[in-house]
């Protein structure tokens, strides 16, 4: 880890001023940034420690039914906030399926939104990586890439976004509040993360010094609570990144799907909102046939970026199952193994 200046601003304005210099990085809990610094993927000249900024650690359930989550709220605190988990159960489930209890106790909401990819070639600083070094090339192409992207990738980058949390957030139209040198603005979370294109090093729509101060979920998102799930496949039962994941949510009115929300994780450089699939579902009666068509629609543009063609079919199956689980209804409590297929209720599995 390189030496750096350490500053601890007393206000958001001070933080933004301190972080506007080249080479500055915001430090929240550090669960991602310190890891990146230890591996040499990130070598900031200055750390602007946000952890003491007042007022950013609150969960406010607002009168209009929306919820505003301060950027410094810890992942575990959000997942275990009873009112939040009741209103947004798929988000709570996604949070609890990520990382480990220790990491969730430290990691912040704002930090999670901006966590970097787990692409092994990004992490292997001796490999070529266009994210780390624009123009260097991408050693993941032609390398060990069975875990890489199947949607939205480019010749320059086939990495995936690792967050579980972000997947139901984009499904539910979360909005981020950003403070920057030019003032406050807000942006749909879906617009925050960028696809790689020719500039995979530009991962978000944030400008230097921009600080995410809060995350908002609109009041309409609460209406999905009775039918909202997050499902995550991984290569061990817990404490593993997603191979493929999906968040699915419905309004069901008179036995038909009023509105549907669907997003996928582990398949692209950003949490992947599947609007075409949502359109297929809207107005239909929930059932395997329409779920199958929705899954086809969600993955219609998918193509392998390497030895990962299986992920496309796997993602279809994850979508179908997530939809079936959501249709079956949100469990009263986040299951013991959050987001695991092994937490399925009786009868939820195809082919029984």
């Amino acid at each position: 880890m390189n030496l750096f200046d350490y500053v601890r601003p007393a206000s958001v304005a001070e933080a933004i001023a301190a972080a506007s210099e080249p080479g500055a990085a915001y430090l929240a809990a550090g669960t991602n940034l310190l890891d990146l610094m230890k591996g040499g993927m990130s070598r900031p000249m200055r750390l602007v420690d946000l952890s003491r900024l007042p007022g950013l650690d609150r969960i406010d359930h607002l009168p209009d039914g929306s919820v505003r989550i301060g950027a410094l709220v810890r992942n575990a605190d959000l997942a275990h906030d009873a009112a939040f988990a009741r209103s947004y159960p798929a988000i709570a489930e996604a949070l609890l399926s990520g990382a480990s209890p220790q990491l969730r106790n430290a990691a912040t909401v704002g930090g999670n939104l901006l966590q970097r990819t787990r692409c092994a070639y990004f992490y292997d600083v001796a490999s070529a990586c266009n994210k780390r070094q624009p123009g260097a090339g991408c050693d993941a192409r032609g390398g060990e890439n069975r875990l890489h992207a199947v949607l939205g990738w480019s010749e320059a980058c086939i990495a995936t976004h690792p967050s579980d949390f972000c997947v139901p957030l984009v499904a539910l139209d979360a909005v981020v509040e950003i403070e920057g040198s030019s003032g406050r603005r807000e942006m749909a979370l879906e617009a925050l993360h960028r696809l790689p294109g020719d500039t995979p090093h530009r991962e978000s729509a944030l400008a230097p010094g921009d600080l995410i101060v809060a995350l908002r979920l609109p009041s309409e998102a609460r209406a999905f609570a009775p039918h909202a799930r997050y499902l995550k496949l991984r290569e061990r039962t817990s404490y593993a990144f997603a191979l493929v994941s999906a968040a699915a949510a419905f309004h069901i009115e008179d036995g038909a799907i009023g509105a549907a929300r669907l997003a996928l994780g582990g398949v692209a450089a950003k949490p992947w909102r599947a609007r075409a699939a949502e359109a297929v579902l809207a107005g239909a009666r929930p059932g395997d046939e329409v779920f199958r068509r929705a899954a086809e629609a969600a993955l219609a543009d998918a193509r392998p970026s390497g030895d990962n063609a299986f992920k496309i079919e796997l993602a279809r199956r994850v979508v179908r199952r997530a939809l079936a689980l959501a249709a079956a209804g949100t469990p009263a409590r986040v299951p013991a193994l959050p987001a695991s297929p092994f937490s399925s209720a009786p009868g939820a599995i195809h082919g029984v």
Binding site: R8, L34, S100, N105, Y239
Partner: protein
Amino acid sequence: MNFSISLTVNGVRREVGLDDPRVTLLDLLRERLHLTGTKKGCDRGQCGACTVLVDGRRINACLALALSQDGAEVLTIEGVARGDQLHPVQAAFIAHDGFQCGFCTPGQIMSAIGLIGEGQAGGDPERVREGMSGNLCRCGAYAGITEAVIEAQEKLAAPARRRSA
């Protein structure tokens, strides 16, 4: 650059001078305060051997910058027993052989104390296993660990139940 932070470690408040901003809470504990019970297994938040409680919450000390902990209360494995009297989690780990080599054990125990404090798992073995999955044990002592956590949880809950009755 010299920094000074104030920490309460195992109930003792200490002013800590740091000549380097890079020091993690883990390396501060181990190399500078000589509290070596907390272990470094991966240094990257991937094993849980460095689990400590900061302000009552279990975290990975390897991914916490020491400077950021200014003012925090830190509980490490050295501060868990009261004199010769083991904490119920410690006693249960011995009784159920919840360890072999012992290297992950301080982290497991701190994690178990954190888990019980969080109150999310109760005595449900599946929730305990999931809740303890941030602590790797390469010796594979998981069966004993789970038994120990459940027993300790019951023991710790018993006086609370009596009080509320």
